[in-house]
Subunit: 223 residues, 2 copies
């Protein structure tokens, strides 16, 4: 067995199992037996289960942020100080998300992991991701702000999270949804196909009319 073969096998196996069942529901014994690796090897190489989880994320997020920063640099250079259109920004982000795990052949796993990062307890993980990768997200939202000057800041904040929810929810629950879709419409759906369907929806959502103003606090009875 080569030098760091063990590390790679642990990560490869862990990411699939985590994506399938979540973090708490995946034991180190399951991971190491499936990876054909000694149980103690996880603690030897990673120190703890927590930091194995973080390493699984880092293997996706490190190349992603690097590529995404690069793509934004390129966009900013191309537009030379002028405002980058919303569609172009969204397109760029989608492209980076699609490209990174394509190299690792498991976009589905990446999306499931992102969904889990939000929905599972794992406070340490949210803190880790925020600290390590918060920067590129801040940069992106600043550009989105220039592209949508008509939106109040708070409205833009919420709409971005609405859309984040759409994407993460859809792509991370993809397997279940795909089963239903194929049974009902016998159509085989790929991730790229979904991204194609998502595009007009996300753009329309970001450009939707502003909501009605909040009603006054209900001190007064309705007439």
């Amino acid at each position: 067995m080569a030098q760091n073969d063990t590390v790679t096998r642990i990560l490869d196996t862990a990411e699939v199992l985590f994506a399938e069942r979540g973090f708490a529901e995946t034991s180190l014994r399951t991971i190491t037996s499936k990876a054909k690796v000694n149980l103690a090897a996880v603690n030897y190489h990673f120190g703890s289960k927590k930091s194995l989880i973080q390493s699984v994320f880092a293997r996706y997020l490190d190349p992603f942020t690097e590529r995404f920063h690069g793509a934004l640099d390129e966009l900013e250079a191309r537009y030379a100080g002028k405002t980058i259109p919303l569609e172009e920004l969204l397109e760029t982000m989608a492209r980076c998300v699609l490209e990174v795990p394509a190299e690792r052949n498991s976009l589905k796993v990446f999306m499931r992991l992102l969904g889990l990062a939000y929905s599972q307890a794992q406070g340490h993980l949210r803190r880790y991701i925020q600290e390590e990768y918060g920067g590129v997200f801040t940069r992106f939202t600043a550009l989105i702000r220039q592209a949508t000057p008509e939106l109040p800041d708070a409205e833009r904040f919420w709409r971005l999270h609405f859309m984040l929810g759409t994407v993460i929810f859809t792509l991370s629950g993809l397997d279940a949804l795909r089963d239903i879709a194929e049974k009902d419409y016998d159509e085989h759906v790929t991730v790229r196909d979904l991204v194609r369907r998502l595009r007009p929806v996300v753009v329309a959502a970001m450009q939707a009319p502003l909501p009605a103003p909040a009603p006054a606090p209900a001190d007064a009875q309705e007439a």
Copy 2:
């Protein structure tokens, strides 16, 4: 202690803890000690942890489906065979979702639970919800279909799930998002406020232009 006081205390405590940390991460010992109830009482009254989880959902979903069916009956009667507009359907669903837990004073908990039902492993739970409550969802989507005749069936299917993702993701991660929003925009956000913001976004998303047709399978090289 009154007859079924114990059952209620278990359910009240369990739903809050489940919503905070998920199912696997909440032990019966934590629930029973916080509820000031004997550990064995959960298995005595509910039989197992699984069926406690299902009971927690039933306490929300039973009144919700009853009310939602009623509201749809009323809508159908009012429109007397004519097509019910999309906005009216969405509005009705939103109203029912908002009203039910308002009686129990914990919409936030309800939303977190729905989010968990999708994202946590818990296969038994998805099966249970599908079997018990699939019917009302089927009825609702049939009405949505009449209201959006211009959408291909598959497109409508996906857009409904996109929007489901938006709502569940936003409302179930509300606490975290609210913290960020209040820090950045010092604005206190209520659930009703979010629903007001969601309305135009969801309508715009459902009415977005159709996506570009899928590209031909990549046998041919790009020119």
